[in-house]
Symmetry: C2
Subunit: 199 residues, 2 copies
């Protein structure tokens, strides 16, 4: 059974969606550890309530390198096969990424490469796009830049606010993130240039 | 009846789709003039065969400003309400754009702001996106940058080449370009920031 490590900073709704997929048997994996960098993250509470191992490793005031070394140690001690970022609001160091090559996934609320970074849904609205969506991608040391595993489109509707658009995109995030994890864990894929090619 | 001016440099398949929409009564407009900057453009032939006024204004060797002034004169003499670029392989000057504010449309084979410029489909494939598409947008003096009227998504499939992806996107281009022209001609829209807001 493949072991997932979840990193989050907030409510972790994508973590919940992954946990639901595991519970429903749609994803053949187990959640080995949930880590938050913020003690008040609701995702930690939810993890404990659902019976998953959950720890807080506070990041406040720590140099990025020191913090990431603590993360690496915790994830290795839990023998994690794949790391899933679920609203983890930190850039990872190159050292962290080298430690887990092509073993870190993220979900981002836009059709990358459009609108990387914070407030992607607001960026999309302000740019005036009529279609946005979400992207499940491998993580490297650059922001929202690694090879793309899956994407889903979502319409931007007249009268949308950042909240209504975010909600529509979030539904797609919940759907494709588990599917992307399934694809990555199943193997039989390779990276060509920056493309994820599934055999 | 609103009068369209079409600018093209090649086969002009989007021009043909517009002409089909007009002929079928799906688009309440007439094609007042088709202009190519290349004498050998197949779009010119097709325009003449279908009975539309068609002229070549050769661009080769001309300074951009001089060329655009010739274009402006021709379009004004034809009393054009809306200019539709259909594979017109030239950047327009700021002077040209100022002459026809929010009266120039283009169709681009990607979900802008991703992959502006040439070979958008190849750019999308090489970036490894799983969803691309096309964008009907107003034209300003910047490359593929004006406010967006409509977009359509198209899946990138395993095994796609630039050719197969282009063909899939082209179908969507043909569909949304006429619809975008219809929206713009119908009025009842405004620009807010860089958003096209339809009432």
């Amino acid at each position: 059974m493949k072991r997932l490590g979840i990193l989050l900073s907030g409510r972790g709704s994508n973590f919940e969606a992954i946990a639901d997929s595991v519970a429903a048997g749609r994803l053949d994996a187990e959640i080995a550890i949930v880590i938050s960098n913020r003690r008040e993250a609701r995702g930690l509470e939810i993890a404990r309530a659902r019976g998953f191992p959950a720890v807080c490793i506070p990041s406040k005031g720590l140099p990025r390198e020191d913090y990431d070394r603590q993360l690496i140690a915790e994830l290795k001690s839990r023998d994690v096969d794949l790391i899933c970022l679920a609203g983890f609001m930190r850039l990872l160091t190159a050292e962290f990424c080298r430690e887990f090559p092509m073993r870190i996934l993220n979900i981002h609320p836009s059709l990358l490469p459009a609108f990387p970074g914070l407030d992607a849904q607001k960026q999309a609205l302000e740019h005036g796009v009529k279609i946005s969506g979400c992207t499940a991608h491998f993580v490297d040391e650059h922001l929202d830049a690694g090879p793309i595993v899956l994407q889903a489109a979502a319409a931007v509707l007249a009268g949308d606010t950042a909240e209504t658009l975010s909600a529509r995109i979030l539904k797609e995030e919940h759907r494709i993130y588990s599917e992307a994890i399934r694809i990555v864990l199943a193997g039989g894929w390779r990276i060509e240039g920056r493309r994820v090619v599934v055999d």
